[in-house]
Structures are given as structure tokens and as C-alpha cells.
């Protein structure tokens, strides 16, 4: 890929763990790749697979979901639900012609600022390696449910 390619990545971070880890990375002045744009949800369990597909449809090259470690979910078990959903979604992405590696799920606790930085850097580099997402836009834009739910 050319040097000019700057991946666009959407991050869905849960309010209690990964979002706070990103806050901690900030207060610790850790520097990392600027590619991931964070959307805050209360729990990673709120991340509807349609949101992920919607992100890819709107030009995201990668999607990163951050939740609490298993057993640490602020809402008991939302992260387990996410784990199962994203497993299934990765299979579907492959069928849609999107490399499943463009979707990554990470458990990052509020104290793991360093890990957050590393994941941000690694994932940005990985997506850079994969190159821009080239989808047959007809495949995902014809997802009627997405089109309906979307504004």
C-alpha cells in the first residue's frame, strides 16, 4: 500500500473499561496512532452488529470494539454477548467479502492505558497493511435493515 493510505477506523469503547483506559492513556500522555475514532457506548454489549456493518458501509477500513475483561463487565455479562455476536459477525463479514481481520475485539480494563496504546498502534498498522476496504458497495448497502435503521 502507498504511504498516503491513512486508515479510518471506528472504535466502539465501553464506558467503564476501555473508554477509561483511553482516558488514562491521555492523562499519561501516551502517544499513539490517530486513526481510531471512538464512539462511546455504555457496554460493549450495546454494539449492534448492524453498527459494525454500517461503519464498513460508510467507509471504515476497520472496526475496533473494546470491552471489559471477562468477569469484569460493569453489567455482569454484556461482554460475553459481544464475544458471541462478533464471532458470528466475522463469519458474515467474510461472506460479504470483508476480511474478518478488519474487525477486532479487545478486552482492555480501565487501568490498562499502555495496552490501549499498543492495541491502537497495532490495529492501525494491521489495517494499513490490509489496505483500504474495497467492498462491492452493493453487497452491504443493500442491507435493508441497516438502511432502515440508519438516519
Amino acid at each position: 500500500m502507498s504511504e498516503a493510505f491513512n486508515p479510518r477506523i471506528v472504535g466502539f469503547f465501553c464506558n467503564w473499561c476501555t473508554y477509561l483506559a483511553a482516558d488514562l492513556a491521555g492523562t499519561s500522555r501516551m502517544k499513539y496512532a490517530p486513526n481510531v475514532r471512538v464512539v462511546r457506548t455504555m457496554c460493549s454489549g450495546r454494539v449492534d452488529p448492524q453498527l459494525v456493518v454500517w461503519a464498513f458501509r460508510n467507509g471504515a477500513d476497520g472496526v475496533l470494539i473494546g470491552g471489559c475483561h471477562p468477569g469484569d463487565c460493569h453489567y455482569q455479562e454484556g461482554n460475553y454477548k459481544t464475544l458471541r455476536r462478533m464471532g458470528l459477525l466475522r463469519t458474515m463479514l467474510a461472506q460479504l467479502g470483508i476480511e474478518p481481520d478488519r474487525l477486532r475485539l479487545e478486552w482492555i480494563s480501565a487501568s490498562e492505558g499502555e495496552r490501549l496504546r499498543d492495541v491502537m498502534n497495532e490495529f492501525s498498522a494491521q489495517i494499513r497493511q490490509l489496505g483500504p476496504l474495497e467492498t462491492k458497495s452493493s453487497v452491504i448497502s443493500s442491507q435493508s435493515s441497516v438502511a432502515q435503521a440508519a438516519p
Binding site: R8, V10, W16, Y19, L20, A22, D23, A25, G26, T27, R29, M30, K31, Y32, P34, R37, V38, V39, R40, T41, M42, C43, G45, R46, V47, D48, P49, L51, W54, A55, N58, G59, A60, G71, D72, H74, Y75, Q76, E77, G78, K81, R85, S109, A110, S111, E112, R117, S145, Q148, A149, A150, P151
Partner: protein, 667 residues
């Protein structure tokens, strides 16, 4: 949905965008002028400004004026983390006469300016985030916070000085307090200390009156030998299950006379005393220490013959006589409590010196930990205050080693804060009691506190030798006649620039403080966060030092991080004040982040029901749709993500809001 018509029925969406400089914190990296300009061109934006400190009074005032002047019905502030100032700006919006939930915050400090090298990339990222917020703002709806009554009772977990002070403060304010302590007595580590730095007043003299006050206070329900097993509910109405372990002595019948201990067929104790850190032995039936509160003994089933063989003559029962307080049939009971607030004051554990074998703890008998020495120098300790070593000798030279398990890449990176001062205190006490020559080996002498530096100076004048250097090892291999039969400390004296060998009789390891071994369970019980060292996380390190991320749960004392007694007491008072602020308000306002189900759209598939961890969703078989109980919903949104027909939605995180935000970050 077009996103219009939600703002106070005015028809169109009118957004105000405020970009905060945060001094140079944001403006030093992000081009705030350009950011405000681009934001001004976004759809629906009526006014877009940058300002030095948006959270300051004039900054908030600016927003209020604009809302009124331009008839804004949406406000977007791009500044720091919403965890810091979301509430501040919600209030600003409310002051201006708008619904506080018609506000969205963009984090361009923690998530952008502080973490991005390149100013251009930072500005571009900030632009994308602001764009997303503006698109999302159009879909914001008016909401009302949920209000719930607050139960005025408080649970305090841990009966050390932090918990004691918290409980007494609350009880004095006429609140009912449940003080739960897992040991048979309250007092915690402070009860084990001899004297306290820098004033050298004796720990027992200042602590035991407070312990007695706890026992006598009509508003404190003291629950010793108990542990919290389960917590449910939320701020204002927690339900707590407490496990009450069997003491085998009925607390209501026992008078605390101690005759059972006298009468026990064990004439001498055989079990290492927990209170004396193993330096003395106790009987199977014992009182932790003479001033224990409550003064009710406990029977250790591991040591008691009756539990092992059922053949004990039970002289204790005989001694107890008519009081009939001894009950070998007791079992663990469960007590249920209802409280409005919880203060976690579970304390610390001393670093295990065995983890650093180079210092020979557990190998060389005359190597002690600092907590052992506290007992050793104590007038009511195992030697009645005589400093006699394990080999029976009185030491003539003593080495006190600072930073054992602190400021060490191999163990704990943090400074335990209290060790320098307590090491100096122990040096003073040891010298006073033995006349021995005392060396203190330190990395840096940290004495930041009222009267601390003066205490250090005093110690130097008393003739304590302070050597700057971390001891590498404690050995018993003599290299000269002077080292025969001694513990030899090998240390680099960094002020002298030379490696020295210093023979001493006794070594004191000033161990650091660590989180309790089961702090992870406690953390999960109360849904707390942890710093990377394992200490419980406060909501904000400066501005909310005793709050946690779980509303209604507060922290006090060393469970939040190492601290000395004055700081612990101050924090206990703060936790009590925070609890009072919550209780006396009478009701709590909870963010309306709950889910709701549009029953017109719901197909009755029941997928959401299985998703909910709080059983907040029930199936209404009459209407064949799902029905959500708002009081039980905690707002995770897992059901929303699962709903195949979009009937389940979450306030503040509606589908349309999130879809717009995702679209917005991808400019």
C-alpha cells in the same frame, strides 16, 4: 426520522458548538480556531466558538447567553472526557433553560490532543469527532432523570481506623451504620502498631477509645467475624448479604469475662497469634488482644480438641456456667441488610518479605519485618516491650532496610509512602529500648508531611546512622572477625560511592503495603475499578478522591492506595461526608440511560429477554410483546443490540444517534 422537531417544539435543530482550548492542553496541539470554523459550517450549527476554558464560569456563561440569544436547542462541547465534565455542562444547559440531555460532549483532550504527536492529524481527528457529535446531536431527545428514594442506612466494610472513623462520623450524624469486619475484632493494622509517627503517641491510646465508642454507639451495628458475600441493587437501595461466621460463642450471652480462656485445657497457647504476627502463641479459645472490640472470644475449630475428637472435658463450658454462651453447634449464617450507601475500607496487607530471598527473612531468625517489630517494641506485645531477638539475645546493632517491596521493578513500582517515616520511628524506639546502634538504609528519605522532616532531623541528632543505598543482601558469611556471628549487610553507600559491609545483630525489613490478597473479589463485589497496582480506583484522582465509578460506593483508607493514619482518617471523614450528602438529599437522580421497548414494533420474539442480566424484561403474554421494567434496567443496551426489529432502544444511545455518530466520525 429527520432529526427535527425534537427540540422544545421549535421545529428546527439549532446547534451551538463550543471548542475548549483547555489552556494549552488542547490548543497546544489541535488548531482550535480551524476546528471551530469547520464546525460552524456543519448542518444545523447556528453558532460555533472556541474559548480558553469552557468549564470556567465565564465559559459556561457564554453557553448560557448563546442558548438564550440564538435559541439553541442542542449544545456540543468539545473539551475533555465526559467522565470529567459531562455533568458540569449538562447543568449549564439546564441553567440556560434547555433540557440537560440536549447536550453532547466530545473528548478532544484525553482522546486527541494528549495522545497525538502530529498537530495536523490531531486537528483532523478532532474535526471528525466534532462532526460526529453534531450529526448525533440532531437526534438527541429531551429526557428526565430517574429519581429514586435513598435508604438512609450505610454499610461500612472494614473495621480498621478508616472504617471506624467513617462509621463514627456517620453514626454521630444520626445515621444507622452497619460496620462489617472479618476479623474477630475491629482495630485493623493500627491496633498492632506501637507508637505513631511523628508525634510518638501510642497507637492504642488513640485508637482504643474510638473502638470503644464504636461498641457503645447506639447507631452502629457492629458485625465482626463477618464478610460481605453478595451485593445487589444500586445507589440508594443496595441489598447486601453478609456471611456471619461461627464464633462458637454466643455474642448476646457472652459477658466478655474471659474465664473460658483461663479454663481451656490448653495451659499454654499452641497456635501462632494472628495479632502478634506469630511472635506469640494463643489458645484455641482466644481474644485477639486485651482491648479487642467486641471483647468476645472466639473458638478456633482448627485448634480446639472438641472439634477434632469430641473428647474434650469442655472446661470452658463449665467455666462459662449459667451464662451458657459457648455453642459448638453454630454455623455460618447469612444476614441481609438494606443500605443506601457503601463505604469500602478494606485496607492493605503488608508485603510478604519471603518474596525477596536475598534478605533472608524466614531463614535467618534475627531478620524481622517491620510489623513484627511493632509488636516486639510494644509494652503489651509478646515480650512486654523488651526487644529480645528470636535467639534470646538483646541486639547491639540494628539495620533497618527501607523500600522492601516498594520502588522495586521486581515487586511493586510504587512508593508505599509510610515506610520512611515508620522506619525512622522504629529506629527511634529500638534505640530507646536497647541502646543499640541503628542504621537506616534508604533510597530516598521521603518525609513529606506535617512535622515529618523535623522528626527526621531529630532522629539524626539522636545519632541514628542513615546510609543512602539499597541493601543488596543479608548474609551470615563472615569475612572478618568483626563479622563473626553477625548478619552482614552488603550495600552500596551511594553518597560515599563505595560498597560497604556492615555487620549487625538484627535486621528490620520495612515492608511496603500491598492490596489485600482478595481485593479482586472485593472489587467485583462492589463493581469497582482497579489501578494497575491493584488499588481500588477513585472516580477522579484529585476532584473525587473517595468516589468510585459505582454511584453510592465510596472508598476510605489504604484500599485506595498506601497512606498514613492522618490521611486515612481524613479520607474516612470524606467518605462519610459523601455518604451523608447522598442520604440527606433523600433521593438520587440516575441518568436516564435505560432501555425502552416500542410495543408497536415489538414482534414478541423474546430474544431480548434472555439478554438481560437483570431480568428487567418480561413477556407480556396478553399483548404478545416484551415489557421492560425501568426500575430494574441498568442501561447496558445489550437487549437493544439484540433486537431484530429495532423495537428495543436505549435512551442517550438510540440507534439513530449511534448510526449518525458512526457516519460522522468517518468524514
Amino acid at each position: 426520522m429527520d432529526g427535527n422537531g425534537n427540540g422544545k417544539g421549535k421545529g428546527s435543530v439549532r446547534i451551538g458548538v463550543y471548542v475548549c482550548h483547555c489552556g494549552t492542553n488542547i490548543a497546544g496541539k489541535v488548531d482550535v480556531i480551524r476546528l471551530a470554523e469547520t464546525a460552524g459550517k456543519l448542518p444545523g450549527v447556528v453558532v460555533s466558538r472556541e474559548y480558553k476554558y469552557a468549564c470556567s464560569d465565564p465559559g459556561q456563561d457564554l453557553i448560557v447567553q448563546d442558548v438564550r440569544k440564538y435559541g439553541l436547542n442542542r449544545v456540543v462541547v468539545a473539551s475533555c472526557s465526559p467522565h470529567l465534565h459531562e455533568l458540569t455542562f449538562r447543568k449549564t444547559v439546564a441553567t440556560a433553560g434547555q433540557n440537560p440531555y440536549l447536550f453532547h460532549m466530545v473528548n478532544i483532550r484525553e482522546h486527541v490532543s494528549w495522545v497525538t504527536e502530529d498537530p495536523e492529524a490531531a486537528t483532523a481527528k478532532a474535526e471528525a469527532l466534532v462532526n460526529a457529535a453534531v450529526l448525533r446531536a440532531a437526534f438527541l431527545r429531551e429526557l428526565e432523570p430517574r429519581r429514586f428514594p435513598v435508604n438512609p442506612n450505610v454499610l461500612v466494610v472494614g473495621g480498621g481506623i478508616a472504617g471506624i472513623h467513617t462509621a463514627l462520623t456517620l453514626a454521630n450524624a444520626n445515621k444507622q451504620v452497619y460496620l462489617v469486619e472479618r476479623e474477630p475484632t475491629i482495630g485493623g493494622h493500627m491496633a498492632q502498631f506501637d507508637k505513631t509517627f511523628p508525634t510518638l503517641d501510642c497507637a492504642a491510646c488513640i485508637l482504643t477509645p474510638k473502638m470503644t465508642a464504636v461498641k457503645q454507639h447506639p447507631n452502629i451495628h457492629l458485625m465482626t467475624y463477618c464478610e460481605v458475600g453478595e451485593v445487589s441493587g444500586f445507589v440508594g437501595s443496595f441489598k447486601v448479604k453478609v456471611k456471619k461466621y461461627p464464633r462458637y460463642i454466643d455474642e448476646d450471652k457472652c459477658t466478655g469475662c474471659g474465664e473460658c480462656i483461663e479454663a481451656c485445657i490448653f495451659k499454654e497457647g499452641k497456635t501462632p497469634s494472628e495479632f502478634d504476627v506469630g511472635l506469640s502463641k494463643r489458645k484455641p479459645v482466644y481474644l485477639s488482644f486485651p482491648q479487642a472490640v467486641p471483647p468476645i472470644p472466639v473458638i478456633d475449630p482448627e485448634a480446639c480438641i472438641e472439634f477434632k475428637s469430641h473428647k474434650c472435658p469442655k472446661s470452658c463450658v463449665e467455666a462459662c456456667g449459667d451464662r451458657a454462651a459457648i455453642d459448638f453447634t453454630q454455623t455460618t449464617r447469612e444476614v441481609e441488610l438494606e443500605v443506601g450507601a457503601v463505604v469500602v475500607a478494606t485496607g492493605f496487607k503488608p508485603f510478604d518479605a519471603r518474596r525477596l530471598p536475598q534478605y533472608g527473612y524466614g531463614k535467618h531468625p534475627n531478620v524481622y519485618t517491620s510489623l513484627e517489630v511493632e509488636r516486639l517494641v510494644n509494652a503489651s506485645g509478646p515480650t512486654l516491650g523488651q526487644v529480645v531477638m528470636r535467639d534470646g539475645r538483646k541486639p547491639e546493632s540494628i539495620g533497618v532496610l527501607h523500600c522492601i517491596g516498594s520502588r522495586d521493578e521486581n515487586t511493586n513500582r510504587y512508593c508505599s509512602r509510610v515506610c520512611c517515616m515508620y522506619s525512622l520511628k522504629l529506629a527511634h524506639l529500638l534505640k530507646e529500648k536497647t541502646g543499640a546502634h541503628v542504621y537506616n538504609f534508604y533510597i530516598d528519605m521521603r518525609t513529606p508531611g506535617k512535622g515529618f522532616e523535623e522528626f527526621y532531623k531529630r532522629l539524626l541528632e539522636e545519632g541514628i546512622s542513615c546510609i543512602r543505598g539499597k541493601v543488596a543482601e543479608v548474609s551470615t558469611w563472615p569475612q572478618s572477625p568483626a563479622e563473626e556471628g553477625k548478619l552482614v549487610l552488603r550495600v552500596e553507600d551511594t553518597l560515599l560511592g563505595a560498597v560497604r559491609r556492615i555487620p549487625v545483630d538484627m535486621v528490620v525489613l520495612s515492608v511496603g503495603l500491598e492490596p489485600q490478597a482478595d481485593s479482586d473479589q472485593t472489587r467485583r463485589l462492589f463493581n469497582l475499578g482497579c489501578s494497575s497496582d491493584g488499588w481500588f480506583l477513585e472516580r477522579h484522582p484529585k476532584l473525587a478522591p473517595v468516589d468510585t465509578f459505582t454511584d453510592g460506593v465510596f472508598l476510605a483508607g489504604c484500599c485506595q492506595g498506601p497512606k498514613d493514619i492522618p490521611d486515612t482518617v481524613a479520607q474516612g471523614g470524606a467518605a462519610a461526608a459523601q455518604s451523608l450528602a447522598l442520604i440527606d438529599k433523600g433521593c438520587v437522580e440516575i441518568e436516564p440511560v435505560t432501555a425502552f421497548i416500542d410495543q408497536e414494533i415489538c414482534s414478541g420474539c423474546q430474544i431480548c429477554i434472555a439478554m438481560c442480566p437483570y431480568t428487567a424484561i418480561q413477556f407480556d403474554s396478553e399483548k404478545s410483546v416484551a415489557a421492560l421494567n425501568e426500575a430494574l434496567c441498568k442501561g447496558c443496551g445489550t437487549c437493544v443490540a439484540a433486537c431484530p426489529s429495532g423495537a428495543a432502544q436505549q435512551n442517550l444511545f438510540l440507534d439513530e444517534q449511534l448510526f449518525a455518530e458512526v457516519q460522522g466520525v468517518l468524514v
